[in-house]
């Protein structure tokens, strides 16, 4: 095979078949995928959770992960947040002509490893190669399907006054890693993406605590955006206690340098859990036993006041709104 991706490899002909066999089957192969039918034959019973997501991250490799592992973790987590056990993924690749074959293999291998860890199978896929300049290196779409095991399923509509709001760990790690890497910035201490599949942790939570009202992974837009969505979906207010919100020193320092707010930065391995306050301690215990929930904290509560709004109680006892961002976060200019 050539060391660069060629248009031939998206043609559906022999070159495509060789690519599928030598790269995709090698790292993602399983009996369902290997049948090579037009569709995957799977046998699952409902209710089902289905989610789709496209991944266009720049840079494609970053400390703590890459576009491949992210494409698995991201969709696995979206499915898991509905109280479901993710089972199968499909993946579609759009690759720019001239992309390095070694990088593609590295990405696909990383997807295989991430799927193995999450205990999901990639059962269908597609590859398109587009002319140089018409896409930025590589884009990946993954669709996930999972069996809902929670009854009722957690949902953004189910937050109620009196619920506690828990976060599973520090915020902003992924967002700052990608942003600083993109800008060629380095900090004294290394910053690393938290990219991980949370489905094993969510399963432990919903099995032990059927009263979980909401599970949400605060990805794009960060904690602030996710909580605003929940407040609006459930028509409740949320009050957060700023000193309780965990942010690592390196992320805090990096954000201060760049004029960014860690509460709006993306996370790829964190979950928000909203459940009645009386179960909060139990939820914390379960989370803290899992490596992905070691730094779990109660960070606030759901209230009846100011429905649809999130209010932050600052360290000195003042209050301010924590709204959604209009666009991207911008660096400070003075």
């Amino acid at each position: 095979m050539s060391d660069k991706i060629l248009l031939d490899q998206g043609s559906g002909g022999l070159a495509s078949h060789r690519l599928v066999a030598d790269v995709f089957f090698k790292h993602l192969g399983n009996p369902i995928l290997n049948r090579m039918d037009d569709a995957a034959l799977i046998n699952v019973s409902g209710p089902l959770a289905v989610s789709t997501d496209s991944f266009t991250v720049d840079p494609i490799f970053f400390p703590g992960g890459d576009i491949g592992s992210l494409a698995v973790h991201g969709t696995v987590n979206d499915v898991a947040m509905l109280g479901a056990k993710p089972l199968y993924l499909t993946c579609g690749f759009i690759i720019e002509e001239g992309f390095a074959m070694a990088d593609l293999e590295r990405i696909v291998a990383s997807m295989g490893l991430a799927a193995k860890k999450a205990k999901v199978r990639i059962v269908a896929g597609d590859t398109k190669v587009v002319p140089r300049g018409t896409a930025d290196k590589i884009f990946i779409n993954t669709t996930g399907i999972g069996q809902v095991v929670a009854n009722p399923a957690p949902s953004g509509h189910r937050a109620r006054p009196g619920d506690a709001v828990i976060i599973s760990g520090t915020l902003g790690d992924h967002g700052l890693t990608v942003l600083s890497h993109r800008q060629g910035l380095s900090f004294e201490a290394p910053v690393q993406s938290d990219c991980a599949s949370l489905n094993h942790l969510t399963l432990k939570l919903i099995e032990a605590l059927p009263k979980v009202h909401v599970l949400r992974d605060p990805t794009r837009g960060g904690l602030a955006t996710s909580l605003n969505e929940i407040a609006q979906q459930s028509s409740v207010g949320i009050v957060l206690d700023e000193p309780a919100i965990p942010v690592s020193d390196v992320v805090r320092a990096g954000c201060e340098i760049l004029g960014l707010d860690p509460l709006y930065l993306a996370n790829e391995g964190k979950l928000i859990c909203v459940l009645p306050e009386k179960y909060a301690q139990q939820a914390l215990t379960i989370m803290r036993r899992d490596p992905l929930g070691r730094q779990a904290r109660v960070i606030g509560s759901v209230v009846a006041d100011r429905p649809g709004k999130v209010v932050l109680r600052t360290g000195m006892g003042g209050h301010r709104m924590l709204g959604m961002l209009e666009g991207e976060q911008l660096p400070r200019i003075c």
């Binding site: 000195m316 003042g318 911008l330 660096p331 400070r332």
Partner: protein, 368 residues
């Protein structure tokens, strides 16, 4: 977000708030901050929500995006999309509305080459990588950012890079304060002075505030304790009738400022009259290229001129910037003018007073 930082110590903040409350008893005071980072810090820390009702903290012309004049916006939008021109800008300018609803964001969507940069050095790199194009850096900002831009221009000259140009929209704080205090409509009784700007210019330029205008002023840092100390110092000076200019940010600001940075600026730029949104022309409040560096002036090289422009209809940003009107007192605020559909620049910039009010204020028109 826990912090063992004494500058964020809640107990110390409470103490200062009690002292402020006692100091203002029986009077009401109107202070103004003239730095966008202070605007945001006052809200984000919660200080704004905790001040006694009798202390009104207004937002002055301290956001570089907000004070960029309509005609300056029109000038750079004229260049966006011109063949062979790449605009390099800080991100905050991307959404600023210009004539007919144009903006850099829209121009980019229509194919203009616009690059968001974190520093002018990034713009220089773009110029090196694109020798066949003119790279125009939009030089907005106060004394804080100007030395870096001047240093970049100097490097461009050393390297013989003739395709790196700057639109010098730089603004100077002391002349603006002077203009504000000369305005009979102004009723500000104390200034919280910018920390980053003062680190460059030092304390000397502020002397007239106390001597000529008898207004107390405090150079402040950005932590909650910094902000409250500055407010307390202003209330005390007001109560005692002894206005002074105090440097309360000595850990960063030397009284003499940063002479080296000023020297670089003086080599590249000279003071010129400048247009400020909502205020108009303020003599000596801007910077233009010295003769030695005229080859880097985008206006001159690309034949662009500032043209008289109509203010945005209904926009009251000017009155907000002068502290005559609170953002939520503007009839457009939160209705016709929101961060999603900004009419004026104070709603666009992350450091704009209207954007800060919209984003952080709990209950507009009821809370302060």
């Amino acid at each position: 977000m826990t912090s063992s930082d004494p500058l964020r110590d809640p107990a110390r903040c409470k103490e200062l708030l009690v002292q402020i409350e006692e100091s203002v008893k029986g009077s009401s005071l109107r202070f103004m901050e003239v730095c966008g980072t202070h605007t945001v810090a006052l809200f984000r820390s919660g200080v704004h929500s905790l001040l006694p009702k009798s202390v009104v903290h207004l937002t002055g012309p301290g956001c570089p995006v907000c004070v960029t004049h309509e005609s300056e916006v029109a000038a750079y939008l004229e260049l966006a999309g011109r063949s062979g021109v790449i605009i390099a800008t800080f991100g905050d300018l991307m959404r600023v509305p210009g004539p007919g609803g144009a903006s850099l964001k829209k121009a980019h969507a229509e194919g203009a080459r616009v690059e968001v940069v974190y520093s002018p050095f990034d713009a220089l790199a773009i110029a090196r990588d694109n020798p066949g194009d003119k790279v125009v850096f939009l030089g907005i900002g106060f004394e804080t950012t100007t030395p870096t831009v001047a240093a970049t221009v100097r490097i461009a000259r050393q390297e013989g890079l003739s395709n790196f140009l700057v639109m010098p929209f730089h603004k100077l704080v002391p002349p603006a304060l002077d203009a504000l205090l000369s305005d009979p409509d102004m009723a500000v009784e104390g200034f919280m002075l910018p920390g980053h700007v003062s680190a460059i210019i030092g304390m000397e330029p502020y002397r007239p505030l106390a001597e000529r205008y008898h207004v107390p002023a405090v150079v402040a840092g950005f932590e909650p304790v910094d902000l409250l100390q500055a407010i307390l110092l202003m209330t005390e000076m007001k109560r005692q009738g002894k206005p002074k200019v105090i440097n309360n940010y000595k850990r960063v600001v030397a009284d003499e400022g940063n002479p080296k940075a000023r020297a670089i600026v003086a080599e590249v730029y000279k003071p010129v009259d400048a247009l400020w949104r909502g205020i108009g022309t303020i003599p000596g409040s801007g910077l233009g290229f010295t003769d030695a560096y005229r080859a880097f002036d985008a206006f001159e090289v690309l034949g662009v001129e500032l043209k008289a422009s109509k203010p945005l209809p209904g926009c009251r940003c000017g009155e907000v910037l002068k502290g005559i009107m609170r953002p939520d007192e503007c009839p457009l605020f939160g209705k016709a003018c929101t961060p999603a559909q900004p009419v004026g620049p104070c709603m666009v910039s992350t450091e704009g007073s209207c954007a800060a009010y919209f984003k952080y204020q709990l209950d507009l028109n009821t809370d302060r």
